[in-house]
Symmetry: C2
Subunit: 414 residues, 2 copies
């Protein structure tokens, strides 16, 4: 058995993080000194991002919130499965070892399991990390479906500023599916990886006192250079989503926070406003800056499971959902070398498993997920603050993916 | 006639502020370089504070929003009055020259006038500046009424950290009514005044690159030294409200954003969440950091006008409202020398006019106000982004106070 952390043992409330006026120095978290970005501090920080970083509201509108039917079941916690490491585990145990902050299971549109831990509460938006990308992805795919965006165009057609960069000869579709050849590393365990230059430029992680790097997300994107060829292989790089967001904002003239509110959020009947972290000139961080409540994430997942129809709205065109769920080139994906994701592909900023449930998902590091399994009529929404971001969600996947499959199997039978 | 600005001529939307991806450099506003704190840029910035500075949510809860009855009247714009400078003006003109962002007039609980300008929209929270203080004031007065706070105690009884500072021998009541002798200048036109040291410590205005001042609001408060005596004169100083917020948080153990949500906000049936700007360790800025929508500010004012009862709740004890409206020592107030506010007093962080309407108000620089006139059954909520913060709201008062009185007189007759 690998060394496991425990959600209960690292609870930020019992641990006294950010409690008191002021909190004790060793329990005080700041963005500027990096303390909010270390474990276990991120167990508090992921539920309080706007208190650390400027943000822009994603307005829920004025309609009443959709209430899911509820029929909580007590048989899920004991569901047994075997992790990818060969360890026997129950669902209940998996919730703890993943440092889960919130988890909700929908079966046929009914809430059958819902729980909150640590600093998260029902009404608090949690950092969704790269789950953000999937929202941007379906927005872009919807605009393409509506004819407002042409995926065959080269990026500079919409964003001339990116001529001469890695994106000068890339198509919008290649950006949407992340088959871009760009010199950019997403290796979270490498402090010199460009992912950290991106977060520093975005202003969401600490900048050194003598920081001389890009001041904004746009400045950072303009600095990216080509490496390899486009359209040959899937390579998961957050910069691509930022480029996609730039494209859709230039194509429409509408800021992404308002576009997201108008085209998706208001139609979902969310319980709460969502928000996006912004850089120092107010640009929304579209690669990982979305914060939303657990129930509202579940609504997004359920909308996708229901072919885009939810709350009396065709929120996303059914054709866009089908195109997403169908996935993309699995050979392209295989080149990315994710050992926990064999046979998967990536389409419209979603991860597509091609498994027996037709499952596809929005995924974010440290354990954020919307897992959509049409074949089992199941949606799982999860927020977590697991210590590792290593290898994407690799370490969590070794537990979570078998756990999700076990839940789906169980629900198919009962 | 004095030189007047015009709201219409400085509209931030037609002026192109923060429009585009990215906006043009000369239309890009940042907190860090001070550009968001200059006129006309603040006409955009006051409606977008959370995009510039971290903030904490003040949750509205899950109840439906209260809808005021509406009977808009078209006779108000032509109401004539004379400014304190002897200038003839109409109400409609006064809205423009005050660089109004939003204004709403309630008469007997009915909306008779409502308009938005510039960057403000109905659902957008606007910076309320020192209107914030009045929320903190009634919270503290309510806690005192409930016995959870003793106004006769010395400040260090609740906040031992303030022993040895200006507040070491001040009572809580003296803090509530701002009769504190403390070396602190609120002169906004003086760049060396402590008000700017306070905003820099709070992280809401630019810090010089070599900044070596207090890192947090609490650090700043601990640095304050006594000057003069307590209890002798009203002296409007924002630091007092921060001390009061520290006291109520220590007395209750509840962070102010949650206290405000639980005790006031959720009961008002607001349309939107409010928020408080926070410093770099997440401490809410209680002297001026509240942002809320215009309609929700009107609800707060109407609740006060109705003796604390609103939306089926006794939100604030009637005794607290009465104690506030009754005001405090007018001789103490006179020593502060506000030429536009003759015969006024200051109680529980409200400005009390002692006029024929029994009007009292929450006031913030650049034109924020909730004007509550029980004698005329009128409440006026106003947000603005007027260029000057000189002398409190002095320049605006010379227009606004006669304008409000004219409205009240008119409504008494019609």
């Amino acid at each position: 058995m690998t060394d496991r952390v425990s959600g209960a043992a690292t609870d930020p409330v019992t641990g006294g993080l950010m409690q008191g006026f002021p909190p004790p120095p060793d329990k005080t978290l700041r963005m500027e000194d990096g303390s909010s970005w270390t474990f276990p501090n991120l167990r508090w920080a992921f539920s309080h991002q706007r208190e650390l970083v400027p943000s822009v509201n994603v307005w829920r509108g004025r309609d009443a919130a959709v209430e899911f039917p509820r029929a909580l079941r007590d048989d899920l916690d004991e569901i047994a499965f075997t992790t990818m490491d060969g360890e026997a585990m129950t669902w209940g145990q998996s919730v703890d070892v993943n440092c889960t902050d919130g988890i909700l299971v929908l079966h046929k549109g009914v809430v059958i399991y819902e729980d909150y831990f640590g600093a998260l509460e029902r009404q608090i938006p949690h950092l969704a990390m790269s789950v953000t990308k999937s929202f941007v992805g379906v927005l872009a795919a919807t605009l393409a479906h509506e004819g407002a965006l042409d995926p065959t165009k080269l990026v500079p057609y919409y964003v001339p500023d990116l001529a001469g960069t890695a994106y000068g000869d890339a198509t919008v579709r290649q950006v949407m599916d992340m088959t871009i050849g760009v010199q950019y590393s997403e290796t979270y365990t490498d402090p010199d990886a460009q992912i950290w230059a991106y977060t520093a430029a975005s202003g969401v992680t600490a900048r050194p006192r003598d920081y001389g790097g890009p001041e904004t997300i746009f400045d950072f994107l303009r600095s990216l250079r080509k490496q390899g060829e486009h359209g040959q292989a899937f390579a998961y790089k957050t910069c691509n989503t930022e480029v996609l967001a730039w494209i859709v904002q230039r194509a429409t003239g509408v800021p992404i926070a308002r576009m997201l509110s108008d085209k998706i959020w208001q139609k979902l009947g969310p319980e709460e406003d969502a928000y996006l972290l912004v850089d120092r000139i107010g640009t929304a961080m579209c690669g990982g800056g979305l914060n939303l409540t657990l129930r509202d994430l579940a609504k997004f997942g359920e909308m996708m499971r229901c072919d885009g129809a939810f709350n009396g709205h065709q929120v996303i065109p059914a054709a866009v959902v089908a195109d997403t769920a169908r996935g993309a080139d699995r050979d392209h994906f295989a080149k990315s070398g994710y050992v926990t994701l064999p046979g998967w592909s990536y389409r419209n900023q979603f991860w597509v498993s091609h498994d027996k449930f037709g499952a596809y998902s929005a995924r974010g590091i440290h354990g954020q997920a919307a897992w959509i399994a049409p074949g089992a009529e199941v949606v799982i929404a999860r927020f977590a603050s697991h210590p590792t971001a290593a290898n994407g969600n690799g370490p969590l996947d070794r537990v979570s993916l078998p756990a999700y499959a076990a839940i789906a199997e169980h629900l198919l039978k009962t």
